[in-house]
Symmetry: C2
Subunit: 347 residues, 2 copies
């Protein structure tokens, strides 16, 4: 495997890695550092206050989340990508990672270097109809669940997210609570998690930012004893909360393209109890790292099956499947395949 | 003057020309048709339901104002512009006319054909700081007032808007009312117009779309006799309202980069009473097509000076200065200069 010259285009909303949370920013950092460690020549197009061992190409000193004058943000993202395309001949591949919509398409036929884009959300039918006008543009899906929705696009591969498993401390003996971690929305199933906890008579800790949904629908259930509201957890707090949990409850209601909290909890040794929706089946090894239930009823009745899982084995499987190494390897494979196909086509 | 191969990039919000109003869409249509009439080879990048004598390059069947699935609109605008840049070698110049922010910058260094952009709003300092990173990108200002704000950008020329003066019917003998036409905002000075009308004891007709500002601040003054609310005027109604007005009141409070209603009223023979702000001095010939006042007090006291202006002369001057012919000539001059400079630089 030869060394590749890679332009990695981050979102320019905030630093890489992000100050607190930000799944795309975290992923971007992890991938960039992993690629550099493997000897690739990586240029990271990100804000000037980012931290990386790659070459940093900073179009802006800081991100637009921190500066209300940096508006409209779309133009900032666009010119950051353009800065890379302008230097296209210096790279073998350009990887566009920004979370939003595929601006990369605008450059698909103008860039002499192939641009691959990772999709971080699941597009609507109308979005797909537009995007599929550029069938030559390669996309990477973050799950097969997401890939199935991308009909009409050229999905070159599925690469599940990686996490920095070294930073998720394993804990063999948890406390006696259940954990819900995620945004407070109908889709994330926080009310279902409360119902489960009440039925099994265990304490539930909720960790997410307070918002209107919380105040209206969640707060009435919070009594500080059986249902405890922690607030928004920063990284250190998150790791502690995961590690101390008997299980993570994931009674997801929406079909999500991934489920980062599942991988994170598992990396701390904490098994998960999830409903069978979206990418859940791709992230959880049923009976090893968690249990996948068909109904809420089933989850309530059979929750002890989750507690019986071997936490050491949960951690080991999580490291193998969601460690950064696997993700970096798979992206190198994707890049190489695209670069090779491009070479064949243009020579 | 040789024939130019021009890609004219319209906004893709609605048809060209627009079904009702839309200053950018109207201007785009006028310019495109004028260029074709002069023998230029024009390709209009606009929605498929547009009407033009140019070659129509339609990326979309219809505009995103008419289809909530066409979202986010930014990507639609971007791919419409990209469609032209992908065919850059077929054109001598690409003229980006869309109203929003200068997406054209993203292609400034990628397109082998120069892209010129007309700015339809006045940017903030922060926007300018970003845009001026592309000093090679040529901009056209719509007034010297606007051009003065564009420090750091390369403003190749100022071209005042044109209107289709044939469609604005001249009327020599008006009715006895004053007219306010424009959006109901503090900046447009509707409350000042009401004050003027009350002080001079003349009837005032207000024509604009009803909104929250209207209901809260304007409606209390509307009595149906001295202050009359017409509603939103379509094109035919607008021409009638202009023609019947003794004068158009334009007590503008914001520094606007143009003032299309001034040119339109004048084209119907109706003189205007304006405050000396923004581009007013560039649009009105003081003492010929209107009177420019320094204060509201002065406007109230000396309004009869406006009524004394010769309506036939108002119309003639408006046709000479704001007829489409002048605008088209000036754009051809701008294009030719940019194309020539590009040729010299690249040969």
């Amino acid at each position: 495997m030869n060394s590749l010259r890679i332009a990695h285009i981050a979102p320019v909303a905030t630093t890489i890695p992000p100050p607190k949370s930000g799944s795309v920013e975290t992923m971007t950092s992890l991938l960039t550092e992993g690629l550099v460690a493997r000897g690739h020549d990586v240029t990271l197009f990100a804000t000037g206050d980012s931290t990386t061992t790659a070459k940093l190409a900073a179009t802006y000193p800081h991100g637009y989340w921190h500066d209300e004058n940096m508006w409209p943000w779309e133009l900032y993202e666009m010119l950051n990508l353009a800065a890379a395309v302008e230097r296209a001949s210096e790279f073998d591949i350009i990887h566009y990672e920004a979370a939003y919509y595929p601006m990369s398409l605008a450059f698909a036929r103008l860039s002499p270097t192939p641009i691959v884009q990772t999709l971080h959300h699941s597009p609507s039918t109308a979005e797909l109809a537009l995007w599929s006008r550029y069938p030559e543009a390669p996309f990477v899906a973050i799950s097969n669940e997401q890939a199935r929705l991308l009909s009409g696009l050229t999905v070159v591969d599925t690469v599940l997210h990686g996490i920095d498993t070294d930073n998720f401390t394993f804990r063999e003996h948890p406390d006696d609570y259940l954990l819900f971690l995620g945004r407070f929305t109908d889709g994330k199933g926080v009310l279902q998690a409360i119902e489960i906890a009440k039925r099994v008579g265990m304490r539930l800790i909720l960790a997410a930012a307070e918002d209107e949904y919380y105040r209206q629908k969640v707060a009435p259930h919070v009594d500080g004893r059986h249902v405890v509201y922690y607030g928004e957890a920063d990284f250190a707090a998150k790791v502690k909360l995961y590690g101390g949990a008997h299980a993570l409850l994931y009674p997801i209601q929406a079909r999500e393209p991934f489920g980062l909290v599942l991988a994170e909890a598992m990396a701390c040794g904490t098994p998960v109890a999830a409903l069978d929706k979206g990418a859940v089946r791709e992230v959880i090894d049923d009976g090893v790292t968690g249990v996948i239930f068909q109904t809420l009823e089933e989850m309530a009745n059979e929750l002890p099956r989750v507690f019986d899982l071997d936490r050491r084995r949960v951690r080991e499987r999580a490291v193998a499947r969601f460690g950064a190494a696997r993700m970096v390897d798979e992206y190198v494979r994707v890049y190489s395949r695209i670069v090779e196909a491009h070479r064949v086509r243009h020579h």
